[in-house]
Every structure is written in C-alpha cells, then in structure tokens.
Assembly symmetry: C2
Homo-oligomer: 315 residues x 2
C-alpha cells in the first residue's frame, strides 16, 4: 500500500504563502463580506448572500495513483469542496471542475473522471455546471483537478472566527486512519457532513460559534479556529474519538477526516443528523496578552503535550 504522508509536503510554507495573501487582501469592495482565509468567501449581492470556494486534488498529494480508482479521485475532488460548504453550515448550489490531464491519461479514463465528478456532484445536490479541461504534453505531470463550489448560507454562515472563551470544542464522527486505513480509505469515500452541519445550525442557533471541516488534522484545524478567533484551544487527548487502534497523535495529526470541528456554548446533542456522534474534545481558553493564540494538547496524567506535530507553527 502506498502511504501518502501529507506532512512531507511542508504545509507550513503553504500557510506562510496563504498568510501573505490574506494580509494583502485589504481594500476589498463592500460586497465582499468575508475574503480569503475561511472555508469559503462570502459575498453580499443585494438581497442575497453567496458563498464560494475552490479546492484542489492532486495526484500523489491527495491520492496514490497506483491504488486509487479514478472514480474515487473524481468523487474526492467534489466531496472535498462540498465539505467546505458543510463547514459553513450552508446549502450547496453548484460546482465547476477543472482538470489538467497528463499526456498518457487517455480519453476513456478522462471520461470516467468527469462522470464520477458529475455523479458525486449530483448526489450532493451540487450539480456540475461547468469547467475546463487541458490535455498536457509533459510526461510526468501529475493530474491536477480543481472544484469550485457555490453555496447559500442558511441564516448566518458559520466561520472559523466566532469561537468565544468558555466555548466547548466538539468533533463529529471518528478521527484517524483516514488516509492510511483500510482500502478504499476514508479520505476517498467520506460523505461531506452537509446534513449534520445544517442540523447542528438549526438546533444550536446562535450558540454555534465557529466551525471548520477537518482536512489538515484536528490539531492544525483547531489552530485555524484559534487564530481566526484570537483565542487558544485546549484539547483533552483522552477524549479524541480515535478510530480503533489509532493512537491520539495520529488521530489528531493525520487529517483528511472531513469531520466537523466546532465550538459552541450551552448544550450540544450527543448525536446529530442520522445518528452521527458528537464528542466534546476540549475548550476555548484565553491566551496571555501578547502571546499568539495556540492549541494545547492536554494529556491527563502527563501534563501538556504539544509542539511535536508542529501545530503551534500555525497558531
């Protein structure tokens, strides 16, 4: 089995580059309610608010070409972007897809890729309405797909930036083993948590404060919330709902779970949607003035754990 080690790709540099872009994205027109830096951007179009995001799926980075049927590549490309819609507690409208295809890719396989995207998009009620295809000359060029999604917020869009000190921190489902588990792995077959996110938003109302989908891993994605909310987050590692046999560090660090990570005040149901479990894993805490927000992994008996997985680089 090919192991895709996401950490090899040095996400820190991507984060640095993204922060350069976020920092430069000032002076946006007033119709841009939420610019770069959250799961989706939010536009105010007269009486209508619209969410939009784009994500990439790249051969060797997001899937192992030797072991992954092309149908699951197409499905993942759609679901990754639909998962961003879930993270905002929004309803999908439509999707667009691009593919830059290697020269030996072949027409039949290309058609299967786009057919799979079309079917997955339709199943998510996020129909594929456009896109672009380029056939490339360069041998060795990996397949690069992108999927853009449009969505409607239901009431408020739930951003990363709404966490409040005192909130509890929750995750849906189970974490870990999503990339290197049984084949086909969870990261290729997951269902974006649209129904669960809408259920959550309806049941919690204004008590649902911040949300993200877990793609980088519980630790890093908690750091995204912490940074955006200017607060720190403490995770109790004993509470992380790791899949059977998965140690907490993997469950918190591997990523590609596409579960919801959210902070809320007040009561939160034990299950949402179709009996999907919700687990309280930590809390939002104050951070000392002058310090950057951070994520602390608290291991009951041994005191603080942390830094090893590099989460604090992002926070």
């Amino acid at each position: 089995m090919t192991i895709i080690d996401l950490c090899e790709h040095d996400p820190m540099r991507e984060i640095d580059l993204l922060h350069h872009i976020y920092g430069a994205s000032t002076d946006l027109p007033s119709r841009v309610r939420l610019g770069p830096g959250d799961d989706m951007a939010l536009l105010d179009l007269d009486d209508r608010r619209l969410l939009v995001a784009v994500d990439q799926v790249i051969e060797g980075r997001h899937y192992a070409p030797e072991t992954t049927p092309i149908e699951l590549v197409g499905r993942k490309a759609i679901m990754r972007s639909v998962s961003d819609v879930a993270a905002m507690a929004a309803v999908p409208i439509a999707a667009l897809a691009t593919a830059a295809l290697p020269p030996n890719f072949g027409r039949e396989r290309s058609e299967r890729l786009f057919d799979a995207m079309r079917v997955a998009a339709a199943e998510a009620d996020c129909p594929l309405i456009g896109g672009d295809i380029a056939l490339l000359d360069d041998a060795g060029h990996p397949l690069v797909c992108t999927v853009t999604v449009l969505a409607s917020p239901v009431g408020r869009a739930i951003t990363r930036g709404g966490a409040v000190v005192g909130d509890a921190v929750y995750v849906t489902g189970a974490l870990g083993g999503s990339v290197t588990g049984v084949e086909p792995a969870h990261h290729l077959t997951f269902q974006a948590r649209i129904a669960e996110a809408l259920d959550l938003a309806a049941r919690l109302g204004d008590h649902l404060h911040a949300m993200i989908d877990i793609s980088d891993g519980l630790g890093r994605d908690a750091a995204h919330i912490a940074r955006a909310s200017d607060a720190s987050i403490e995770i109790d590692v004993d509470r992380i709902p790791a899949r059977a046999g998965i140690p907490w560090r993997r469950a918190a660090g591997e990523g590609e779970d596409y579960e919801l990570l959210f902070t809320a005040a007040g009561d939160v149901p034990a299950t949402i949607g179709d009996e999907v479990p919700v687990t309280r894993v930590g809390r939002v805490i104050d951070h000392p003035g002058g310090d950057a927000p951070r994520v602390v992994m608290r291991d009951g008996e041994r005191g603080e754990a942390g830094d090893e997985l590099g989460w604090q680089h992002e926070s």
Copy 2:
C-alpha cells in the same frame, strides 16, 4: 523566442471530451439556466441571476516559462477568465484562484504570482476573494493556475447559441500575432473587453444575438457559435482585421486574441467603447438539412477555403 504552438496540443481531443461532458449533463436542476458548454454557466437564484466560469493557465501551454515574467502569468490567468465575463456581456463580481506550484518555484515568486493576480483582479473590479495553494514535490511539474469568476448578467446574458440566419458576424480590434508577436505578446497584456461588451449590449439591445471571446482563434470560435446556434457561418477572409504583416490564416487560426466575436442584426457602430474598431467579417447562413453546422472561410477570387485549419472538425 519560444513559440507556443497551441495546435500541438490537439484541441480536438479536448473538444471531444468536453462534448462527452456536455452530452452527459442532462437532468440539471431548474436553477441551472445554462449548463456546461458556453463561456459561463448561468444560475437562477430566486430573484438573482449569476454567471460563473473557471479557466486554467498552464506553464508551457499558455505561456513560455523562459520568457514570461511571473507577473504577466498572474495577470493573464485573471484576464482570461474576465474575458469570459466580457463574452457574456456581464459585470464581474469576484474571482478565486488556485495554483499548483512546482517544488522549485520559491516563495518570493509565488507571492509575486498571487500579488499580480490580486492587482489584475482589483483593476478589473473583480476582487480576488479566495483560492487554494498546493506546493508539489514532483520536479518537472508545470505550474497550473486556475481562476474562477463570478459575474452578473446585464439584462440577458449573451450566449453562443443565439445566432440567427441572416445575422452579420463582427469582431473587435485586430487579430493574429497575439502569441508570437512582439514581446510582451498580446496574449499576456490584453485588456478583457468588458467595457466594450457592455457598450455593445446597451447599444444593440435585442439585436445582439450571440457572442464569444476569441481564445481558440476566429475560425474555431466561430465554429463554437455555429454549433451552439445550429447554423453555419461564412467568413470573408479579406475582411479579417489582421495585424500588419499577418496573413489571414494566422489571424484566423492562431488564437489568444481575446477580442469579441459576435453576431447581430441591424446596424452596428464602427467603434465601441473607447474607439475600439468593430469589423464585419462574415454572416450567418443556413446549412443544408442533415449536415452539421460549419464555418466556411471564403476567399474572394479563389472560392472556398476551409478544412486546412481543422475548424470543421469542431462544427
């Protein structure tokens, strides 16, 4: 100087693949007013109509890496997509960009790329509001950028499919030498024809029937209109507004001009926008029952010219 020969890339296969996708895109929900196959897709969101499209810019395919400053790559990526907005006679709302970056690309150059996209997007009043970045491991991997654009139609969106037999066919500006002309070449420095398209739509009203922007070349893009409108198009090669020293076959075949190609009934002004010339180059004609629509290049004294550039493969 590096010559980018677009024809090497066998656009026919891309067209075949796109037609597979268009053919499979049935059963779209009613909110999709215009699905895959035009310059942009059109959505009906309650009281608001929204256009959306995505396009790619790929190293070696859309620009020569040895001779192209990275700022012009970013600018082209934005302008190519904004040109799709012009082709629908619409007003840009916002853009999202992705980049899959080769391992040796470097942070400084990445920042310049995104800064250039941000500046070009802001200048087109189409602010960059989101995106995604992936840093890749594979050496030899070309830079792949995508730009998604959202736009508002002004009145009707002008599609490729509205041409009517008897319409005259027009182009804006000058054609040919856009890729292999003086450096920096037109395909890297063009202004998307937003103002001209809006002026045209305002002045012609319902007499403006079909429009596209010229990226594949006058011949192929005329074929896109012909096919979508189920009519044939005859081009008088002596009327093609070729740049000085450019023979008509190159002016009609090279592409990357990003001028407007449109069909209209009635009077059409000689210039639009800021004195941009409009040239009548042909007419929409009937095609014999049972035959596919086609584009005929008519050379005054020598009779029909045609097939050589492969246009009829697409029509």
